[in-house]
Subunit: 302 residues, 2 copies
């Protein structure tokens, strides 16, 4: 047993909502973020500065940020917004964002499908913004999408991901997130890749992002924990899926991850009772969130 | 990656069916066993010699065994029956069983609830039958129920379980199965307990049995694998659990375990295509099996 802290970053209000057919209002999105804050979540991905035509669910993210700022909600929390490019970064800055997330890619095919660039091109674009952000004092998370397997190219060479991750860490990213975007990774792969990166760079700036497509989300979280990873993305009620990644189902549910971590003796600072209220709200607002895989147990016991 | 073999023992036709409200005919139970055999399962728990009044779903197990024997289905397979006591053992022998499973307990309260004995009393009864079985050339699995947590007593002292397991292994049981009967164990507990026993006795006679109540089934399988455990109970379509709690999880689903093992490069000898047919049959016959947690993915990909 351990009393180490583990951070959970809820990506439901961004990664989760962006793939829903039902588009929530800014007020509904705020309700969801507030419910997560009430449950003790300090790290939340609250929106994205992407084209409102391409991703209408993320329109109005500036409104989410300003409402949170008015309530002084961001003072001691990390509320991150996704920015796909320089234009998005500028919009995020104008809206007062102090933490941004950018995506790089483990495969060329996925980079092409998402941003019509090669993976090297996407890396260059992200590192350019990283340097701006460092100058601006903005916190940066760089997420390596399809870090394990690509729906178009199949298995992704772990050496390639290690080298990409190493370059981004050396450029000073605050956080490097290894994302199993389509939920295809298995625990031995996770342990191996995270073990390599932790061995070279330590765990303090590393995080992992798993999807539960093959029900391996929690097993993969455990494998990464064993390598020393102490931060995980998760999505309230398992909200998610990826509109550009065929076969991806929801993110691993925040309530499942928190339950496992707390049961193992890690401190998350998150309270499962209010968290299940947030899960209920996510399900009510979207009409589609599946809920965590341990919902039946949690609803009786949280 | 590894090419080691891992054995999966399907307990659906016994542990799964005994808790269903719908009672299957002997012929239906045979259909399910045959579907598992067709998928490549060599280890199957095919029934129990328990009171047909107490557990009507297991009445007729002698008929299941004799039908399998007529078809020469047991020649190269291990088809196990549960026996609760000496009377059950004698009935099993009379029906031609050559592999039996008996239950011992990690807690007194669970032993009392199940067999109205202390855990020491249940251990004595089981070891008496173990000695008979060794004389008779009958294979024996001893399962430690509530090896991690008891619904009445809470956490079970791992030292107690290690000592109990050690005694049973030293008495010559062919297999010792550590059962998380209520699905309460977490991966660190599993790694610790299995690690202790593997360290003292090796892994060749050890197996684990997990329930998916808190969605930790696959994470616990992975943790046990890391300790060297190479045999797991699982239940086709996740059969099991409480018939009075709709949606409550049963045993970890065979198809989920096989998928994870095969994906990690272990050899199970089980073919996921026919296995999903067996899962479909289990769902059709019982009307209640939830299916594995990775069903959506498996149905598209197996």
């Amino acid at each position: 047993m351990t009393t180490e802290q583990v951070t959970v970053n809820d990506v439901g209000p961004r990664d989760g909502l962006q793939s829903q057919s039902k588009i929530l209002t800014v007020d509904e999105r705020l309700q969801l973020v507030e419910a997560l804050i009430a449950a003790g979540l300090r790290h939340i991905e609250v929106g994205a500065f992407v084209s409102p035509k391409a991703v209408p669910a993320m329109a109005g993210t500036a409104g989410v940020l300003s409402a949170l700022a008015k309530k002084d909600r961001s003072a001691d929390a990390i509320h991150t917004v996704l920015v796909p490019n320089l234009r998005g970064y500028e919009l995020a800055r104008a809206a007062g964002a102090n933490s941004v997330c950018m995506v790089v890619y483990g495969s060329d095919a996925m980079a092409q499908a998402n941003v019509r660039m090669s993976r090297r091109g996407a890396e260059s674009a992200a590192t350019e913004i990283l340097q701006l952000a460092r100058r601006d004092g903005v916190r940066v998370t760089l997420t390596i999408a399809v870090a394990f397997e690509c729906p178009f190219e199949g298995a992704v060479d772990p050496q390639r991901v290690c080298e990409l991750g190493g370059r981004l860490l050396e450029l000073g990213t605050d956080e490097l997130c290894l994302a199993d975007t389509i939920g295809a990774a298995h625990p031995l792969q996770v342990r191996s890749l995270t073990g390599s990166l932790v061995g070279s760079y330590g765990a303090s700036r590393l995080s992992c992002h798993f999807h539960d497509t093959r029900a391996l989300g929690l097993a993969n979280v455990f494998a990464a924990l064993e390598s020393g990873i102490r931060k995980f993305d998760a999505s309230i009620a398992g909200l998610g899926g990826c509109p550009f990644a065929p076969g991806a189902s929801g993110n691993v549910a925040t309530e499942d991850v928190v339950m496992m971590l707390e049961q193992m003796g890690f401190e998350t600072g998150i309270d499962l009772g209010p968290l299940m209220k947030a899960a209920e709200l996510a399900q009510k607002l979207t009409g589609t969130a599946s809920g965590g895989r341990a919902s039946a147990w949690l609803l009786q016991n949280a």
